[in-house]
């Protein structure tokens, strides 16, 4: 540690030190920046906007489902609302949220680099995201799209009379934004690690982002091509997927899920990386089984490419294909379970504090455990036949994708907020919001498991009256969840002005990002750090006096 530069923490009220935030105040200095930290903030703004837009559609869904009759909106409107909710949340929020915001900000800092390998491509990636987002908003205001986020053929190519092409184009473009991010991370992690920072010393956050990037660059082109094929069939009536034109609708599902199942790991792996950082810091311990946690990320990325047809057990694939994919699905369960066990074991003989990021990490373990275990139900053939395309599936993937990804993201945002902004968030309100998110989430989605097993299909605008009580419970939970999500928005904004000033390392955490100032200077480190220690060397870092800095 002696060889690295550890700038003195800023004195409260000091504004003299130049950092990435005050290095240029013009709009131009933001819109033409190639600083990965500024691009991360640009992403944060746009991703948050889409999160609340997607959340608005979620509330419309929950309100419609308060009653069995379709009474709040027309059937066609409802179909567009759930489609828009899905597309926005998947393509414009869940996939970019952790890599493009936290990853963008932290990957260069954690490997001790000045920036990502291709800063201009990084900016291009954000512009592609914005163009795709604008296109999608235009599509939405122009009447929207009603195919479901899955674009299933021949509905999307022959039956739907909504803006399928424009929505598809938006997804196509946003895919390239994701490919560029992945490309940047892979090259940066390979080529730009600080001296001494060997692969076995990398933070698990970096391992997780490395695995994610592999999926991004290998999987995303497939969905891009598939969307192009949908457009070709829709516009030129070239028979690819529609049997009336000589095509095969199952071919679409194979191509779509070949990307879209691994995409689930694009979403969850970076959050898993966040959780590894949080658990080690707040139990003051090296992670239990570093190598196994690191390699489990790679294993998930690789095996994740081999399980796509488990979305198609009742779609008309052969009996034996279904059995093979069911078996492979259980294989991918192993590395996920390994992570959960190792996080739990890391707590053993630790010195644990319960700051907000740690509360989110606990929440993540709880929700991901339920989400993962119910995934095993769906991988089990005899069960999947009954529960696929019901609310059981809806509950399952929300536990993984919202319970997992959003808990990881919020945990990470609280943890790195002082690094990003130089200010602490208010601890009391943050803990309250963590609690509200956890309770609200379970109240929203747990009833949906029951709803699915008793047989309510997904994407239903109206439903038989006996399902109403469970739906009302779910809607009630959603309103608690909404409060839990809006609270951090408010107090994060508040803290920008009134939050206590944070020093370089308010958590006394390991990791290179904590060895530079908060907020960091434009080129991250005054001197290139030289790493002589293993990751999570908490035995060498003293604990703070206070449990956590608390706002007045």
């Amino acid at each position: 540690m002696a060889t690295t530069s550890i700038p003195a923490s800023q004195a409260p009220g000091s504004t003299t030190k130049l950092n990435y935030l005050n290095n240029g105040h013009t709009l131009r200095s933001w819109l033409l920046t190639t600083d990965h930290k500024r691009i991360a903030l640009l992403y944060l703004l746009s991703v948050t906007a889409f999160f609340f837009l997607g959340g608005f559609f979620a509330m419309l869904i929950r309100l419609e489902l308060l009653t069995p009759e379709g009474d709040l909106m027309q059937a066609d409107t409802y179909n567009k609302v759930f489609t828009m909710h899905g597309m926005i949340m998947v393509f414009f929020f869940l996939i970019p949220v952790v890599p493009a915001v936290l990853g963008n900000f932290l990957v260069p800092l954690m490997v001790g680099a000045k920036d990502l390998a291709f800063p201009r491509i990084n900016l291009l990636s954000w512009y592609l995201y914005v163009i795709a987002g604008a296109l999608f908003l235009h599509c939405m205001l122009n009447g929207g799209v009603d195919t479901g986020w899955t674009f299933y053929t021949p509905y999307s190519t022959a039956a739907s009379n909504t803006n399928v092409i424009e929505a598809g184009l938006a997804v196509f473009i946003v895919g390239f934004s994701s490919i560029f991010t992945g490309l940047n991370f892979i090259v940066t992690i390979h080529r730009m690690r600080a001296p001494g920072l060997t692969w076995s010393r990398l933070p698990l956050f970096i391992w997780a982002h490395y695995a994610t990037s592999l999926i991004m660059i290998l999987g995303t082109p497939v969905v891009a091509i598939t969307i192009v094929l949908v457009a070709v069939e829709r516009v030129f009536h070239l028979g690819i997927f529609d049997p009336r034109l000589g095509g095969d609708p199952l071919l679409f599902q194979h191509l779509f899920w070949f990307y879209s199942h691994p995409a689930v790991y694009i979403m969850i792996l970076p959050s898993m990386g966040v959780i590894s950082e949080l658990i080690t810091c707040f139990s003051r311990k090296r992670v239990f089984g570093y190598k196994f946690v690191a390699l489990s990320s790679i294993a998930i990325a690789v095996i994740g490419f081999l399980v796509w047809a488990h979305h198609m057990f009742v779609a008309g694939i052969s009996l034996y294909a279904a059995m093979v994919f069911s078996f492979l699905t259980f294989l991918v369960g192993v590395p996920s379970a390994v992570k959960v066990f190792n996080w739990t074991a890391t707590l053993y003989k630790g010195s644990i504090t319960y700051a907000t990021p740690m509360l989110y990490a606990f929440g993540f373990i709880g929700l991901f455990t339920i989400g993962g275990l119910t995934g095993l139900f769906l991988g089990t053939l005899g069960i999947d036949v009954h529960v696929t395309d019901t609310y059981f599936v809806v509950a399952h993937f929300h536990y993984v994708m919202v319970g997992g990804v959003v808990m990881g993201f919020l945990g990470g945002m609280h943890f790195w907020w002082p690094k990003i902004t130089g200010r602490m968030y208010p601890e009391y309100w943050a803990r309250l919001s963590a609690l509200l998110v956890f309770v609200g989430f379970n109240l929203t989605f747990f009833p949906q498991f029951v709803l699915g097993y008793v047989g309510m299909p997904r994407r239903y605008w109206q439903y038989p009256p006996e399902f109403q009580v469970l739906n009302v419970l779910s809607t009630a939970g959603a309103s608690v969840l909404a409060v839990g999500y809006i609270l951090p928005m408010i107090y994060f904004l508040w803290s920008l002005r009134y939050g206590p000033i944070a020093d370089a390392n308010p958590w006394n955490a390991a990791g290179l990002e904590w060895q530079t100032a908060s907020p960091p200077p434009t080129f991250n480190f005054d001197q290139t750090p030289v790493v002589t220690w293993e990751a999570y060397n908490y035995d060498e870092i003293p604990e703070k006096e206070l449990e956590a800095p608390v706002a007045q």
Partner: protein, 329 residues
């Protein structure tokens, strides 16, 4: 089951109790696992909370533990896989004696044709204790035939047949849902499965007069001119169809395929796709000429030429020619 807060679906088929048993096993295992992890996290988080003067004790890890918690869960999951696959195998293997019912899906209704000729819309009447096999296709987009009380579901695709079989056990009226999103009235594309005691079912079947499906097919077979070539008395231009159903067929490219429902269907719509060895590709395509209902009737007729033993009304009502020698006009 509470009317307002259903926690468990009705059990009305032979598969339902099997699926539920496996589900309960999974719930138990998942419940125990969840409880263990919640308990471990809670206990560890409290026991090892920060105390003044007590530092964390660094532990590198343990290969034995890692292997243990990789391999043991894997074997537990293997029991899920095997049990689930066994049930799935039964679900996907219709018994030979199953009574066939044709289902045609379209936005947004289910059209049912019984082999005896009864037609229904958004309702399917079936007797208890009898194996029923649905042969399903769609006229437009993908739909999915879902009966929660039977724990069964199968996507219904345009351009091909998919099948679903069951044996109902408890008389009653059960939900039929479309489970694959299919457009505006997806959530309205439902109906009822009416399970009846065999004697009630026989009464229901006897009500109303209708022509058996294979009989319709037979009429079509001659009116469409199929019978001019597909004949057994003289060497026709097309293969004799008697006895071919569900048997291997030698194709002219050397492959052998089974003449199942999907093969017969394809050979009517797109005859040149698979040419039987020894014949020329001279048959016209019927794609766009016959409706899905007519196609079902033709398939049922071709099938009836191979199933002399089947006790269905279709053959009993057929004229007294041997099944091996279809009447030719």
């Amino acid at each position: 089951m509470s009317k307002y807060l259903p926690l468990w679906p009705d059990q009305a088929s032979t598969m339902a109790s099997q699926v539920d048993l496996l589900y309960i096993y999974l719930l138990l295992v998942a419940g125990v696992m969840t409880a263990l992890i919640f308990l471990a996290v809670t206990v560890l988080a409290i026991k090892y909370r920060r105390r003044p003067g007590v530092a964390a004790h660094q532990i590198e890890g343990s290969t034995i533990l890692e292997l243990g918690w990789s391999i043991i869960p894997f074997f537990v999951m293997l029991t899920f896989f095997i049990w689930g696959a066994v049930i799935f195998f039964q679900e996907r293997t219709p018994p030979a004696d199953a009574t066939e019912v044709y289902v045609v899906a379209k936005q947004w209704m289910w059209k049912i044709e019984h082999i005896e000729g009864q037609h229904e819309i958004n309702e399917l009447h079936v007797p208890t204790g009898q194996n029923i096999k649905l042969i399903m296709t769609s006229q437009d987009v993908i739909h999915s035939f879902y009966i929660p009380a039977f724990r069964l579901k199968q996507d219904v695709l345009p351009g091909r047949y998919t099948t679903l079989w069951f044996k109902a056990t408890v008389p009653g009226r059960y939900h039929l849902f479309c489970a694959e999103y299919c457009g505006t009235m997806h959530s309205g594309m439902g109906g009822d499965i009416v399970v009846m005691k065999p004697e009630d079912y026989a009464l229901w079947m006897a009500g109303g007069s209708s022509t058996p499906l294979a009989e319709n097919g037979r009429a079509l077979f001659s009116s469409l001119g199929c019978s001019t070539c597909h004949r057994s008395d003289v060497k026709g231009r097309g293969p004799d169809l008697a006895g071919i159903y569900d048997k291997p067929v030698q194709l002219d490219d050397g492959r052998t395929v089974i003449a199942d429902d999907n093969y017969v269907r394809e050979s009517i719509l797109d005859p040149t796709a698979k040419i039987v060895s020894g014949f020329k590709p001279v048959m016209p395509a019927f794609q766009g000429i016959v409706t899905d209902e007519q196609l079902n009737a033709l398939v049922a007729y071709v099938k009836s030429l191979s199933q002399p033993a089947q006790g269905s009304a279709a053959l009993q009502n057929a004229p007294a020619t041997s099944p091996g020698q279809p009447e030719v006009q």
